[in-house]
């Protein structure tokens, strides 16, 4: 980033190559729409480019970039929610707005997969988490960031982050209980949840 600040355009291309996929992925898991995720990712890179002259290496570049991305994603989610609230109650219910329906324990999972995609269920359960918990889970589980960096992005202490993550995973465990019961355990003691 310091090279980009010095006016090296090639270094910006390197940043783009390195962070394009994780950034789009993060935003996709936050907003659940590929087109919106890409638009937001472009906005993040554009803001990084515009702010390159003022950049000071007081914080890690990824912390700075994901903080911008988090703010943009949460604003987008809020705007989207606000737009939905303005839709008439008479309007037909979109598929996206139906409540999460986890299959019953006695229901075969392949039966449920006929009517709804399993991955979509999980994705929606994550999306239904409170904003801060959702950011924490996506950064912890999918971006594999360490606690210190996630805490800085969310502007909280590491201790508060650990409690936040526990509450988030506990909610998901309850929400997805039938799927969890039928799932194979993540290799015990194998380290990071990747």
């Amino acid at each position: 980033m310091l090279d980009v600040k010095a006016g090296d355009e090639a270094s910006f291309d390197l940043l783009l190559q390195k962070y394009r996929t994780p950034l789009v992925n993060f935003l996709y898991r936050m907003v659940r729409d590929s087109a919106t995720a890409e638009d937001l990712a472009q906005e993040v890179f554009l803001r990084v480019y515009r702010a390159r002259k003022q950049y000071s290496p007081s914080a890690k570049f990824t912390t700075w970039m994901f903080r911008i991305a988090t703010n943009l994603a949460l604003n987008s989610v809020r705007d989207n929610r606000y737009r939905r609230m303005q839709v008439s109650l008479d309007a037909p219910v979109e598929e996206d707005e139906t409540p999460i329906q986890v299959p019953a324990k006695d229901m075969r999972i392949d039966e449920h997969m006929v009517e709804r995609d399993r991955a979509e269920l999980i994705h929606r359960a994550v999306a239904a988490l409170p904003e801060k918990q959702r950011v924490a889970v996506v950064l912890h589980k999918y971006e594999e960031m360490d606690y210190g960096e996630i805490a800085r992005i969310l502007d909280c202490s590491e201790s508060a982050l650990k409690s936040l993550l526990f509450r988030a995973y506990e909610t998901l465990r309850v929400q997805l209980a039938p799927l969890v019961a039928g799932s194979v355990a993540y290799r015990a003691g194998e380290g990071r949840p990747s």
């Binding site: 472009q42 554009l46 991955a119 589980k141 015990a188």
Partner: protein
């Protein structure tokens, strides 16, 4: 240790990012607590489940669109530093106004200390007193007067009377 206390370190224990002390505490608790042991197992399963959500790859034209947007960004002009920023302009205007106001304050004070024409005429009436102001205010000049003889200092009854002929 209570389950609530362990819960905060449980995630860090499961992803092996807890320090050795916390790790030992959690392990000790899990040996005795079936509920937390079950929860820990469920968390591991949940993480496997979360892996089923596929990643999203950026579209083919992502870079091209971004470069196009960057190319359309306004370029910094060489005279940009001459263009006053709104905040800077406001601050400068405020400083100028403050300095003008401050510069007027002392002038008003000086004007109030200068005597008016009428006061100056009144002072002329007391000019005699003012001319001897030094003499009146400094008593040390009295010490320069020549000393008089004792008999002169204690005049007789006759001498104390004024002479009629002016002798």
């Amino acid at each position: 240790m209570k389950c609530e206390d362990v819960s905060r370190e449980l995630i860090a224990y499961l992803d092996r990012r807890a320090n050795s002390a916390d790790r030992a505490v959690v392990e000790e608790h899990l040996k005795d607590c079936a509920a937390c042991r079950s929860r820990a197992e469920d968390f591991r399963k949940l993480w496997s489940l979360l892996d089923e959500v596929p990643a999203h790859e950026p579209s083919f034209g992502f870079d091209a669109r971004l470069r196009q947007r960057i190319a359309s960004e306004p370029r910094p002009r060489w005279f940009a530093w001459l263009v006053p920023q709104p905040r800077l302009a406001f601050t400068m205007a405020l400083l100028v106004a403050l300095s003008v106001w401050m510069s007027r304050l002392p002038q008003e004070n000086v004007a109030s200390t200068v005597p008016s024409e009428e006061e100056q005429f009144q002072m002329i009436d007391h000019l005699g007193v003012l001319e001897n102001f030094d003499l009146l205010s400094k008593s040390d000049v009295l010490s320069e007067l020549p000393a008089r003889a004792p008999q002169e200092q204690a005049p007789s009854q006759d001498e104390s009377q004024p002479k009629g002929d002016g002798g």
